[in-house]
């Protein structure tokens, strides 16, 4: 099986989707000729021509707004917003339009679009290249929200997203593009070529939306994580010696609640980890669901480890980033409660 970085896996997913379905079109800022600032669409314009893969003006509103119109026509646009931090000009189009067109037209018009965007920190991107805005989308009914944590899932989830009949927000943790990252920024980078999830089938396959995956079996405490935080949680479990069960949520909306409930009922403890800010973050929704469905199994308060409620700083990146030490402390607290 070929080894792929997450970038190559994403490119492979788009390539296969374009090859299988002539209705798939790909566009965004620097996406066409150059192939994207992260190279996720490299070579696609050459292969499929510039009417199926092209550069756009710098207008996220325009990118998503035209994608919605194309989807109404019957195409399947998979567009790129260069950084998740830049998606806000398109927010109205996503929230008020893409998410509701099926509902408000009683299915006459639909919006099968994918909006891809690199998210998260760990690359010294400062407050405009590091954000994790997933909660701004999980609060919107009509959207699906996906955050892959490895090349294999990225490919399978992206193909599933492109084939999905509804709009999907696809957040790509950019720190994972070239290798898994457990928060130990002082250590050498591990490439995907040395990680089993860097083995990616070259052909067409999907990872279903709405299905979580248990990344580490454990009996003491359940860790709910997604994206980069999956690896941070793994490191924290290893370093504390706590037998944590780590669930990679993969899709935040719709959420695989059954997987979460089954695990928390087994372990009796739950720690939620995300890089986004704390207040009204997706962790709040997870914590509420866990207490609602697992209250009588809980032996400790549900813990949350997240980014602080500040803008993502530059110099203080590793003080902000919820690394393995902070996650480890939360695991210990959960065990001691």
């Amino acid at each position: 099986m070929p080894r792929m970085t997450m970038i190559e896996a994403i490119r492979s997913a788009i390539d296969i989707s374009m090859e299988r379905d002539g209705k798939v079109v790909v566009f965004g800022e620097d996406v066409g000729y150059f192939g994207g600032v992260f190279r996720c669409t490299a070579g696609l314009q050459q292969k499929y021509g510039k009417t199926r893969c092209f550069d756009t003006p710098i207008s996220e509103l325009g990118i998503v707004g035209t994608a919605i119109g194309m989807a109404a026509y019957g195409l399947r646009p998979c567009v790129e917003v260069q950084f998740a931090d830049y998606v806000y000009p398109a927010y109205d189009q996503i929230v008020s339009e893409a998410a509701r067109i099926r509902y408000r037209s009683n299915g006459e018009f639909t919006c099968p679009i994918v909006v891809r965007m690199p998210s998260g920190g760990g690359i010294f991107g400062g407050q405009t290249h590091s954000q994790s805005p997933e909660a701004l989308f999980t609060h919107v009914c009509g959207l699906k929200v996906v955050v892959p944590s490895n090349p294999r899932d990225a490919k399978g989830l992206l193909i599933a997203a492109i084939e999905d009949p509804d709009p999907v927000i696809f957040l790509e943790p950019k720190r994972l593009y070239n290798g898994p990252f457990d928060g130990h920024h002082e250590r050498p980078v591990t490439p995907w070529s040395r990680h089993p999830l860097g083995d990616v089938d070259a052909g067409h396959f999907t990872v279903p939306l709405g299905k979580a995956e248990v990344r580490r079996q454990g009996s003491s405490v359940t860790v709910l994580a997604y994206g980069t935080m999956v690896y941070v949680a793994e490191a924290a479990a290893q370093e504390t010696g706590i037998d944590a069960e780590i669930i990679d949520l993969r899709t935040l909306l719709p959420l695989d609640l059954d997987c979460i409930v089954e695990s928390v009922r087994k372990t009796g403890r739950c720690v939620i980890v995300h890089e986004a800010t704390l207040t009204s973050g997706f962790g709040a929704e997870l914590a509420a669901l866990v207490q609602e469905h697992c209250f009588y199994h809980l032996e400790a308060p549900v813990g949350r480890v997240t980014g602080w409620d500040t803008p993502y700083p530059h110099a203080q990146e590793w003080d902000y980033f919820p690394g393995p030490a902070r996650v480890g402390e939360a695991l210990v607290r959960a065990m001691e409660a």
Binding site: P57, T66, G69, D92, E97, S105, N106, G210, P254
Partner: protein
């Protein structure tokens, strides 16, 4: 040096007249009918920049069709157009009354603007797609969409094609080339460009039409639409309906220092035309010109329809609070229905008596439709969409959390 200048002050535009004043449109230059040339559709946009500052008009004060934009429509087509506008007016009258009777929560009428959507629709072909605002129901009436379905939507009753999910008049009909109305302003303008791009990507022959009001041209969506339409030469007609008023805000607030709304197209290299929006023949002629440009792959056209919103913005609005009560009577472009009627009388194809008779017939047909719709219920009485429908259609397939919520709601 700084001492040489007086302190800065902010300019806030004001309309010429406010309530209590005498309506004054002397600042609106109205060119003579027939005076604006009709360029070939493949004209270089740079050669017709003056069309963004004039007004294309066909019907003159005597009710004659004159000039290079005239001569496109037969008596039969014009009689049909007249009937569409009369139908829309009668429809509005009945639905306004129905709203006052509590049969629905909200309504928006077209009074004075009937020609814009009714005539535009006739310039399109089956399969073309409009991305309308809330004041283009003429696209449906002139497109043959059943009035009873419009009313079912307005009444949010058990036969509402949109299952009671949308505010009244936010229609949707794919079959009739009418994209689901958002209610958020301006969003559809750039979607129309995307639809048109998709048609071009697919080597199709169909074109799109975007619609926006004078006030909403201030939204970023308008700008993005023009950029994308210009860059990719999308086969789209971009329509600005300038009815002078954005709720209580006069058009000068959105227009700013630009001479006209149409002139916004010039910086994008998009041909921009202004047309008498109360002149059915002029609207049709310009719509056909722009549609032909799109269909011949010559790219987008920006059209500003100069018209006047005679009624309130909606049933929640009272215009007497912000403009003179009799301002509409002073509007220099007259009434679109009366102007077309006078033209047809002058052509010998119509008479006052036949007009009165037609008014009664049209009203009868609206009343028949309303009776039929009311059999299916009105907002607060009779049949209504099921509560189950509230949970359906958020996604193609209902996800588990919505199934749980529907169960909780007991449906």
């Amino acid at each position: 040096m700084m001492d040489d200048f007086p302190p800065l002050s902010l300019h806030v535009p004001e309309p010429e007249v406010r309530p209590g004043g005498t309506p004054d449109f002397s600042n609106v230059p109205i060119p003579k009918a027939g005076s604006v040339p009709r360029p070939p559709v493949d004209v270089d946009p740079r050669d017709i920049r003056d069309l963004a500052f004039s007004i294309i008009r066909v019907l003159n004060r005597e009710g004659e069709a004159v000039g290079p934009w005239s001569g496109l429509l037969s008596d039969e087509a014009l009689l049909e157009g007249l009937r569409h506008m009369m139908t829309l007016r009668a429809f509005d009258a009945r639905m306004l009354m129905a709203q006052r009777q509590g049969k629905t929560s909200f309504y928006m009428q077209h009074m004075g603007e009937e020609a814009v959507s009714c005539a535009f629709r006739k310039a399109l072909e089956p399969g073309d797609m409009n991305f309308p605002t809330y004041r283009q129901a003429g696209l449906l009436i002139a497109g043959g969409y059943p009035m009873v379905d419009m009313m079912n939507q307005i009444f949010s009753n058990e036969a509402d094609p949109l299952k009671g999910r949308q505010l009244p008049i936010m229609y949707s009909s794919k079959e009739h080339g009418f994209f689901s109305i958002s209610g958020n302003l301006g969003t559809q303008f750039v979607q129309a460009v995307g639809w048109a791009m998709a048609s071009a990507i697919s080597n199709d022959t169909r074109i799109a039409a975007g619609w926006i009001g004078d006030g909403s041209t201030a939204e970023s969506d308008f700008h993005a639409a023009l950029v994308f339409a210009s860059t990719y030469r999308a086969p789209v007609v971009l329509n600005i309906v300038n009815n002078q008023w954005a709720i209580s805000t006069f058009q000068g607030i959105a227009r700013g220092g630009a001479g006209t709304f149409a002139a916004r197209g010039l910086g994008f290299g998009i041909p921009a035309l202004r047309v008498d929006g109360n002149d059915y023949l002029a609207v049709y002629a310009v719509a056909r010109w722009a549609a032909e440009r799109a269909r011949r792959n010559l790219g987008p056209t920006l059209v500003e329809y100069v018209t006047y919103r005679v009624g309130a913005h909606s049933t929640s609005d009272d215009p007497s609070a912000y403009r003179p009560k009799d301002e509409s009577e002073a509007w220099p472009l007259g009434d679109p229905v009366i102007r077309l009627k006078n033209h047809l009388v002058r052509r010998g194809a119509w008479s006052e008596e036949r007009h009165r008779q037609a008014e009664a017939e049209v009203m009868d047909s609206v009343i028949v439709a309303q009776k039929e719709a009311e059999k299916h219920g009105t907002l607060h009485s009779g049949g209504k969409p099921s509560v189950r429908d509230m949970f359906e259609g958020v996604y193609a397939e209902m996800p588990p959390h919505l199934r749980r919520q529907r169960h909780q709601a007991g449906v």
